[in-house]
């Protein structure tokens, strides 16, 4: 394993090998010491000898005392996600367009024609009470028509109170 560690610090492992080596190093205290020493050797050869060989135990202890951080996984922008988003957008535009075109077709129909088709069924459904004649109905409708009386059309100022008029 230590040979993989040596290659790892030189950036000479393929991605899968590197991941295995990192995992192995994380799982082993011995491997961490080797990782430390191999870096010290490189530093010393380049003239950067450390003041001490000791492992930074204080930092490690302080780190252990920290609550474990857990970063939320960043969403991967993949082709599938982009394609799905595009398809959803196209579908939405399509549905809205279709609804719009249906509305405009209805509005294209002449008003009179629409009125006829609307009123016709209602007219057909009028049923008269048994024994009632159409003329009776006309009398009934005349008596109950909602047209206001002519005097109601007069303005308020011109209105003569009923009592005064008498």
């Amino acid at each position: 394993m230590t040979q993989e560690l040596s290659s790892l610090m030189d950036g000479e492992l393929a991605a899968d090998e590197a991941q295995r080596a990192i995992k192995a190093c994380c799982d082993s205290e011995e491997a961490k010491v080797d990782w430390h020493l191999y870096h010290v050797i490189g530093d010393a050869m380049r003239g950067h000898s450390p003041r001490t060989l000791a492992l930074p135990k204080d930092v490690v202890e302080a780190l252990k005392a920290q609550p474990t951080v857990l970063a939320p996984r960043r969403p991967q922008v993949t082709f599938t996600r982009v394609a799905l988003a595009a398809a959803a957008s196209v579908a939405t535009v399509g549905v809205v367009g279709w609804i719009g075109s249906q509305g405009s077709r209805e509005s294209d129909t002449p008003v009179a024609a629409r009125a006829n088709t609307a009123i016709q069924p209602v007219a057909n459904t009028v049923t008269l009470p048994q024994g009632a004649q159409p003329s009776d109905v006309q009398v009934y409708l005349d008596a109950h028509r909602q047209l206001p009386q002519p005097e109601l059309y007069r303005s308020v100022n011109n209105r003569v109170p009923a009592a005064a008029a008498r």
Partner: protein
């Protein structure tokens, strides 16, 4: 035993143990070896990518991965901080605080910059805040640009602030490393020198030493192991007894 077509390397004397390991200066790099044009790496994980892997592992809750980053960058960060703070004990404290701050801020690290550049900024800001809290003058931001973080390799500052004891300890470590390298068989010594001092890839070293890449990998590992074995007694650990 000497590898075919190779000359022996010169080593620094113990009195100069704190200076870098020096291969003889000849035209074109190492003695008798032609300069090499660096070919691009293919299919290998770069240093930055390895750091990113460790960061992502730590972001998923693996503290051991962050420990590996601490072990890798602690000395470099301390060298950097020595440009701002002079007391070695204070440097250690500030470095520790910077690592803890970096760990806490890890969920915010997106990998837009290299991990060390990010750590550098945290370290410098921690050092400035530390000095301000003590009522001392903090360096201006222009004195420490983040751009220099990647290439920072100056050890002069740290040597200046070393106490006599730490200076001695540092020299002792350097001497142990240099002695161990000097005692290596030549092919191991050349391989590790080309790697650590010249920064060559295994492929380039294989071309120079006229051997397979697997052999280079093995030689560098054996060289490191041989030197590490000399250092372990100073560390207080051996293969049988670790921290």
């Amino acid at each position: 035993m000497r590898a075919k077509g190779m000359k022996s390397l010169t080593f620094i004397i113990p009195q100069e143990a704190n200076k870098p390991f020096v291969a003889p200066a000849t035209q074109g790099g190492l003695a008798g070896l032609a300069p090499v044009q660096k070919p691009p790496f293919q299919g290998r994980m770069s240093d930055r990518e390895i750091d990113q892997q460790l960061v992502e592992k730590a972001q998923r809750g693996d503290k051991h991965a962050f420990e590996m980053l601490v072990l890798k960058y602690q000395r470099k960060l301390e060298r950097l901080l020595s440009r701002v703070i002079r007391d070695p004990a204070e440097i250690e404290d500030v470095a520790q605080e910077a690592f803890i701050k970096a760990y806490r801020a890890l969920p915010n690290f997106r990998g837009d910059s290299a991990f060390y550049t990010w750590l550098y900024r945290i370290g410098i800001n921690t050092a400035k805040n530390y000095l301000i809290a003590l009522g001392r003058r903090a360096p201006t931001s222009t004195e420490f640009d983040s751009e220099e973080a990647e290439g920072f390799e100056d050890a002069a500052g740290l040597r200046d602030i070393n106490t006599p004891e730490s200076e001695l300890a540092s020299k002792q470590i350097a001497q142990t490393v240099n002695d161990a390298i000097a005692a290596l068989p030549e092919e191991l010594r050349t391989a590790i020198t080309l790697r650590e001092l010249d920064g060559l890839s295994y492929e380039e070293i294989a071309q120079i030493m006229n051997c397979p890449i697997g052999t280079v990998r093995s030689r560098i590992f054996r060289a490191r192991e041989a030197v590490a074995e000399k250092l372990r007694p100073q560390l207080g650990t051996s293969k049988d007894k670790r921290w």
